[in-house]
C-alpha cells in the first residue's frame, strides 16, 4: 500500500526552480530520510507535502489528491515539524505541546487532549518540564518539545525537518528510536530531512537523495549510499564501509573535491 505518492512535483521561488519533477512513493510504517546538500530543496519538499506551499504536480495521500482534501483534514493527517520555531512565546511547555492539537481545541480544553499531551510528554521523558516556560529551555529541550508538539497530533504522515538539530548524540539516538517505534506502532509514514548521512543510514528504511531539486537516487541505504554518490552530490571524496554485523553502510569522508583541486 502506498500512503503518500508524489508525482511530477515542481516548485519555483520567484521563478527560480527549486524542485524539478520529483517522483516519490512512501509506504506506511516506514521512515524515509531525504538527504542532500544545502539548498537541494529538502525543506521545500516537506513544505509542499504539508500544504504550506502550493507546487505544480500531484501529491496523493492515500490515493487522494491533496488539493481536493479540506485544509482541516490535511492538518489532521499531516504533522510537520519546522526547522526553526520562535522561542519568544511566553508559554509553558504543556501549553506549547497542547497547541499541537489546535484542530480539536476549544475554550475549555477536553480531558482527551490533556491526556494525549501528558502521554507524549512522558513518552519523551520531558514531563518534568511541563510547567516550565518554553523560552527558558535550552535549544535541545526546545527541540524535544517541538517534537512532542508534532507527535501529539497523532498524524498519519509525520514530516520532520532536521529533527535532531541541537540535540546531543544520546538524544539523537533516543529520538530516532522513538520515531521508529511510533512509526511501526501507529503505522505512521515518516519523512525526515537530515544532514548526517550515517545517521540517515542507521535510522531510515529508505533514502531519497535530492540534488539541485531533483531526485538523484532513491532506495535502501545500502544501495544508495555509495562513494560515487557522495562525490557527485556532495563533492566529497569518501570511503563507504559496510557494517559487518548489521550491513549498514557507513561513510567516512576523506576530503572535498574542491580542496583537492586547490591543492
Amino acid at each position: 500500500m502506498v500512503r503518500l505518492e508524489i508525482k511530477n512535483l515542481k516548485f519555483s521561488y520567484n521563478s527560480k526552480p527549486v524542485l524539478k519533477n520529483i517522483n516519490i512513493k512512501v509506504s506506511p510504517g516506514k521512515i524515509t530520510a531525504v538527504i542532500g546538500p544545502n539548498a537541494a530543496g529538502k525543506s521545500t519538499l516537506l513544505k509542499c507535502i504539508a500544504g504550506i506551499i502550493r507546487p505544480e504536480g500531484n501529491i496523493l495521500i492515500e490515493g487522494k489528491e491533496i488539493n481536493t482534501i479540506k485544509k482541516d483534514n490535511i492538518t489532521k493527517l499531516v504533522s510537520y515539524l519546522t526547522q526553526e520555531s520562535s522561542a519568544r512565546a511566553v508559554l509553558s511547555v504543556f501549553e506549547v505541546v497542547l497547541l499541537g492539537r489546535l484542530h480539536s481545541l476549544s475554550w475549555k480544553v477536553d480531558d482527551d487532549d490533556l491526556e494525549v499531551v501528558w502521554g507524549i510528554l512522558k513518552e519523551l521523558g520531558i514531563h518534568k518540564l511541563a510547567s516550565r516556560h518554553f523560552n527558558e529551555l535550552s535549544g535541545g529541550q526546545r527541540q524535544m518539545v517541538s517534537i512532542a508538539q508534532a507527535l501529539v497530533r497523532e498524524p498519519k504522515i509525520l514530516l520532520l525537518d532536521e529533527p535532531t538539530n541541537n540535540l546531543d548524540l544520546q538524544h539523537q539516538l533516543e529520538i530516532f528510536d522513538l520515531i521508529r517505534e511510533l512509526s511501526v506502532e501507529r503505522n505512521i509514514t515518516t519523512i525526515i530531512t537530515l544532514h548526517q548521512l550515517n545517521m540517515a543510514a542507521r535510522c531510515a528504511d529508505e533514502l531519497v537523495i535530492l540534488n539541485n531539486g531533483e531526485v538523484y537516487a532513491a532506495g535502501k541505504p545500502e544501495s544508495v549510499l555509495t562513494s560515487e554518490m557522495v562525490r557527485s552530490v556532495y563533492g566529497v571524496n569518501a570511503r563507504v564501509n559496510i557494517g559487518e554485523d548489521d550491513g549498514i553502510p557507513q561513510i567516512i569522508p576523506i576530503n572535498s573535491v574542491r580542496s583537492k583541486r586547490l591543492a
Partner: protein, 351 residues
Amino acid sequence: MATKIDIQAKEIYCEITGRKYILLVLLAVACVFTLIIDILVGPAWLSIREVFSAIFMANSSDPTTHVIVWTIRLPIALMAIVVGATLGIAGAEMQTILDNPLASPYTLGVSAGAGFGAALALVLGVGIVPYAGEYLVSINAFFFSLLTCLLIYFIGKARRVTAETMILAGIALLFLFHSLLALLQYIATEEALQAIVFWLFGNLMKTTWPKLGIVAAVLIIVVPLLAKDAWKLTALRLGDEKAKSLGIDVEKLRLKAFILISLLTAAAVCFVGTIGFIGLVGPHIARMLVGEDQRFFLPMSALGGALLLSAASIGSKVIIPGAVFPIGIVTSLIGVPFFFSLILTKRRGYW
C-alpha cells in the same frame, strides 16, 4: 474510573491554569476598587455612603451629589475602565500579530492619525461627516485612526503581509501625521491651538453616557470575535511557519485581527484623545503575570489596561487638589514606576 495518567494530566493542567485564574480575579477586584475610589475622588470628595445612595437610592439622595455622581463621576470612572481595557486589548493583539513588543496604537501612529483628524476638525472645521456638531472632532479622529490602520495594512500588503513591513509602515505614518499635525498647529489660531493641545493631552472630562456607550459597545462586539480565535492567536506566537503547519491561514488571521484592533483603537482614542502608555504596557503586565495563552492573556491585558487608566484617573484628580489634570499626562507618571518595578522584580525574559 479515571486512569493514573488521566489524573496527572489534569493535575498539571490545573496547576498551570489555576494560578492564572487567581491573578485574573485579583486584578478584576483591583479594578473594582479603583473604580469606586475614582467615583469618590474629585474637586468635591464624596463618601461611600453618599455615592451608594446616589446610585442605588435615587429618591433619598442629595440632588447635588446625585448630579455629580450620575453626570460626571460615574461615566468618567467607567470610561477610564472601558478605554483602558480597549487599549490594553488593542495593544496586546497588535503585539501578537506583529510579533513585536513595541507595537501599540500609539507607536504605530494610529493615535497620531486620530490626533491629526481631530486637529483638522478643530482648526479648519473640516469634517468627514458634515453637520456632526458635537461629534465632529470624534468622528474625524475615528476615521483618521481607521485610515491609518488601513494604510498600515495596505502598505504591508504591497509586499506580503509580514510583521516587519507593517511596523515600518506604522512608524513612518507616525512621523507623517506628526508633521502634518505640526503644520496645522503652525497655522492654527491661538484658540484652536489650545484646543488641539488639550485634545492631544488626552482626557476623560468630556465623557458622556452616549460616548461611553459607543466605546463599550465596540468593546463588547469585538472581544468575542477575538476570543473565538484565541488558540490560533496563541499559536501565531510560535512563528508564522509553525502556525501555518498547524493549519492556520496566517495572513487571513492577521487581517481579521488587524481590522478588529483598528476598530478598538479608533473607538478608544476618538473620544479621549491621545493616551499613549496603556496599549503598550497593559499587555506587558499581562504577559508577565499569565503568559501568552490568549484565553488568559486577552482578559488580563484588558484588566491591566483598565487598572492603569483607572488609577491614572484617580491620580489626575489628586495631584493638585481641586484641579483635574489631563489624564494622558498622568498615565505615564503612574504607569512607568509600576512597570519598572515589574521588570526589575521578574527574572524571566519576556521578549
